[in-house]
């Protein structure tokens, strides 16, 4: 491990190779495709599935809905954090909701929402619900830790609100927003797919995972799980890179 705590690429590659080797060894020891398929079998099944139109349709449906929930939570979370930072009463009033969302098991929300919503909207709402408190809490913390000396400087020079946002608040929020988006992306995928598995909306990854469970098709289960993990990592990297480019653009002006 480096002094910064970040794993170098070669160490990551080696650890992935070792994990695959352990998986392969376990599959060889178990000797049952029903209980555990090998990485090779899962990859072959994934290759077969990716050749089908239904695969890409399921991926696009789940991706679109989970991303929509994430985006709505991002916008709402930032808005509520800004309002709460301005008026402490709002933070106090929102506190019970945020605490309840954080503490309630996601399955409870999924079952409750199945009564309220149609199954297609379920993953949007559940992703929204899981991401909202993370973004809200983190952005609020970021706003509250803004350098008071810079705010005083802005007050003396009578800097406009827009310029305060761009020059003072956004750079301050950058690490909070990037860290919370990374955490929230993984959670949005886990909760969103769980909602699909329970709600079984047609043409989604969740439905395909549910079918894998019903037909005891462990190969499909692993193949779709690899898809979810891969999408989660890709979306996380895309969001973090997007935010980095946005901030770099703002700071270069």
């Amino acid at each position: 491990m480096t002094t910064t705590g970040k794993l170098p690429s070669w160490a990551k590659a080696l650890s992935i190779f070792l994990a695959l080797w352990v998986w392969q060894l376990a599959a060889w020891l178990v000797q049952s495709h029903l209980l555990l398929v090998s990485p090779w079998t899962a990859l072959v099944r994934l290759a077969t599935l990716s050749g089908q139109g239904a695969f890409w349709l399921a991926v696009s449906h789940s991706l679109g809905r989970i991303l929509l929930g994430f985006a709505l939570a991002l916008v709402t979370g930032i808005f509520l954090a800004v309002v709460s930072a301005r008026w402490h009463l709002v933070d106090t009033l929102l506190w019970p909701y945020m605490a309840a969302i954080k503490a309630t098991p996601v399955a409870s929300f999924i079952i409750l929402c199945l009564i309220w919503l149609d199954s297609r909207s379920l993953s949007v709402f559940i992703s929204f619900l899981m991401v909202l408190p993370i973004i809200y809490t983190s952005v609020l913390q970021g706003i509250r830790s803004t350098d008071i000396q810079l705010l005083e400087m802005a007050a003396v020079f009578k800097v406009s609100r827009w310029r305060r946002l761009v020059y003072i608040y956004l750079p301050q929020l950058r690490p909070f927003l990037v860290a919370s988006c990374t955490v929230a992306t993984g959670l949005a995928w886990k909760a969103g797919i769980a909602a699909e598995v329970i709600g079984i909306p047609s043409g989604t990854i969740g439905e395909r995972l549910y079918q894998a469970k019903v037909y005891l098709d462990t190969g499909d289960l692993f193949a779709w799980t690899i898809v979810v993990v891969g999408l989660s990592i890709l979306v996380d990297k895309a969001i973090v890179q997007g935010l980095d480019r946005l901030f770099a653009f703002v700071e270069s002006r």
Binding site: E152, K158, R253
Partner: protein
């Protein structure tokens, strides 16, 4: 119109920092405030900048537009020197004018760099240009030459002298030579140390 500080008192947590302090800052002139550490110089500046309210007394004739060099640089660290000046000038000054001032103060090679990569002395000069270029009727400088080497201090002092002409300038310093370069000794305000009995 001159700025009149009338019998101003300020205390923090029961500790008196300013007690019945009075002074007049003449319009379009430079006033130097001197005094030992802890005598309330920075508190007085904070009152003038509107960052604090006096417990007693009043300040009359304060202009709306004030610019300042604080004891700390108070720069937006990810942004360039140019952007930090632009933050306070807006589009009232052209990019070329700001660049000219930054070059004049010896920052020609550092104009586009994020200020966090600049040395303490360079950051100090950015904050001085920011204060001198902001549209203001009162410029407050709190130990503006602190941390500058003698050569740089001399050139920055000349820069401040030339840009401050015709403006109301209030400078806090411990250095008599700096004070003498900025204003005649009879216009210095020497702040008393409060006894804490």
């Amino acid at each position: 119109m001159a700025i009149e500080i009338k019998n101003v008192s300020k205390s923090y947590a029961g500790r008196s920092v300013l007690n019945q302090f009075s002074a007049v800052l003449p319009d379009h002139e430079t006033t130097v405030i001197m005094g030992p550490s802890g005598c309330g110089k920075t508190t007085l500046l904070r009152l003038l900048m509107g960052l604090e309210r006096p417990d007693e007394g009043q300040i009359v004739g304060l202009p709306d537009k004030i610019s300042a060099v604080f004891q700390e640089e108070r720069l937006c660290s990810p942004f360039s020197a140019l952007a930090n000046v632009r933050l306070v000038t807006g589009k009232s000054l052209s990019r070329q004018t700001i660049v000219q001032h930054l070059v004049e103060i010896g920052l020609s090679g550092s104009i586009q760099q994020p200020v966090r990569t600049l040395s303490g002395g360079q950051q100090r000069r950015v904050s001085i240009v920011r204060a001198m270029l902001a549209d203001s009727d009162l410029i407050v400088l709190d130990e503006p030459f602190k941390g500058l080497d003698p050569d740089t201090k001399s050139s920055v002092l000349s820069y401040v002298q030339s840009k401050a002409q015709g403006k109301t300038l209030l400078v806090v310093t411990h250095d008599a030579a700096e004070a003498a370069a900025l204003a005649p000794a009879d216009s210095w305000i020497r702040m008393p140390v409060l006894s804490q009995d």
